[in-house]
Symmetry: C2
Subunit: 292 residues, 2 copies
């Protein structure tokens, strides 16, 4: 998905919030924002919002001198999610359709997005209450279920730390397939990294693979060759969250996106409303580039 | 008042909205926003938000090729205000304290700010309902009343077109003083210009004076010499709206500001809440520069 003019003030609002969260000295905030303005002024809007966000958060991390300034918030979110893990696993296993229930909880987890929301355990509780009742495209869910059944190799693209715990519960319901859980190659915002995936207990459930990039999404021009080959050769890709949708919706590969709709641009693109939970399918239009 | 980092995304959001209101072709919006980003990246934050807004709206007017793109909305707002004029004048004259009631309606008029709000006659109606009941600093109002009584020459700095009709009703209650109503020297957003003041009927009530500038505020470094001399030599200045507050709060001249609080930066600066109606006084710290 390209970057829309509406993304400009929104990304700047997120950047401003990030300067506060990352503890950048008040006297430095304006100069940092000016660097970000300059960077955005030179941006190619044909690229996706996560690419612009990648540059913005590089500037912020550089300024605060901390390679992972959201680390503390990520630990809080992971701890909170782990606190719910056992109860949710029981609910999933006790349900008549464990896979479908696990998808619903994986969508709950997508609320843990600190680019857009503040860290608020209450919000997670509210979303957990919604899990079994929130409207969802049951036909798309059935298609996803069938794809899972017929796949041998499945790749799940993680989004946020904490959400990763809910992704683990989904992976447990993928019927013993060969699953790779892909994480960001380096920290960006509160996106899940290798360390966060391990802290979430995912190393016991899936093969973990960093994508080699610090974009809050999956930019195929910037991922490692190893990631790209696995992405191209896997039978099924399940991509979590808006950042992955924004960066992969036009990738040419068939992908199932699981995301909450959190901004008007995505809402318009998906013809949904803010707050909706979405299972969106992109169609395959190109063949694998692995080995090219 | 300086420009704060919080102003950056807000001004960009306003700019984005303005590209739509001014009918800039969708394909041109991103390039225009990039020009604005570049301009903001070079901005000196010690200057006030109306100075930055001035540059932004010059770019937008230049792009849409219309020197007064808000003209239609301004006419609508003036017509709506004129539709209420006679009823409000009767309410003011029938009240026990006509001057104080007129101040309240002048504060109602400040809702007609299309940099922040959309044009919505319903919003004006709602504000008119509030006029007599909205909390207001009665002590500050008493001080203003006394200043009016002791002044010979009074200058009212207008803010928005439409609001100007309410300003006229206030000027009618200034006890026959020698009143100058200052307007923007050239169109910017929906700020009141000479033509708008005439359309509001102000030419029959006050001497009209353009300030020589196209800033949505009063930038003393940019106003005409004629304006500056009158500003410096008048006994009392009553300044309407946020833009005049932002540009004059540190001017060194004693001023009474009448404004609604519409943004968190101003709310913090004034220690008020968004939606509050404010009579704020700045203290005199320097002498007149007229004739310097």
């Amino acid at each position: 998905m390209q970057t829309y003019p509406d993304c400009i003030p929104c990304l700047l609002q997120q950047a401003l919030k990030a300067t506060g969260l990352c503890g950048i000295n008040e006297s430095r905030v304006f100069p940092v924002m000016k660097r970000i303005l300059r960077c955005m002024a030179n941006f190619d809007p044909d690229l996706s919002p996560p690419e612009m966000a990648m540059y913005i958060h590089r500037i912020i991390r550089g300024e605060c001198g901390n390679p992972d300034p959201y680390s503390g918030m990520k630990h809080q979110a992971i701890a909170a999610a782990l606190g719910h893990e056992s109860r949710i696993r029981q609910m999933i296993m006790a349900s008549e359709t464990p896979f479908r229930t696990a998808v619903r909880f994986a969508l709950v987890g997508n609320v843990l997005d600190f680019a857009i929301f503040d860290w608020n355990p209450q919000r997670l509780e509210e979303q957990l209450e919604l899990a079994l009742h929130q409207p969802l495209d049951e036909t798309a869910l059935t298609r996803l279920e069938k794809e899972v059944e017929s796949a041998t190799k499945i790749m799940v693209l993680g989004d946020n730390a904490g959400e990763s715990v809910f992704d683990k519960l989904l992976i447990e319901q993928l019927g013993g397939k060969q699953v790779t859980y892909a994480v960001r190659g380096n920290p960006t915002i509160n996106d899940v990294t290798m360390a966060d995936a391990v802290a979430s207990g995912l190393n016991k459930t899936a093969k973990l693979l960093g994508n080699g990039s610090d974009a809050p999404g999956t930019l195929l021009e910037r991922v490692s060759r190893e990631f790209r080959c696995e992405f191209d050769s896997t039978d099924l890709v399940i991509a979590k969250g808006q950042g992955n949708y924004e960066s992969l919706s036009n990738s040419g590969r068939r992908i199932f996106f699981l995301t909450q709709v959190k901004c008007p641009v995505i809402a318009r693109d998906l013809r949904k409303r803010i707050g909706d939970w979405v299972i969106a399918e992109s169609k395959a239009t190109v063949n694998s580039q692995c080995g090219a």
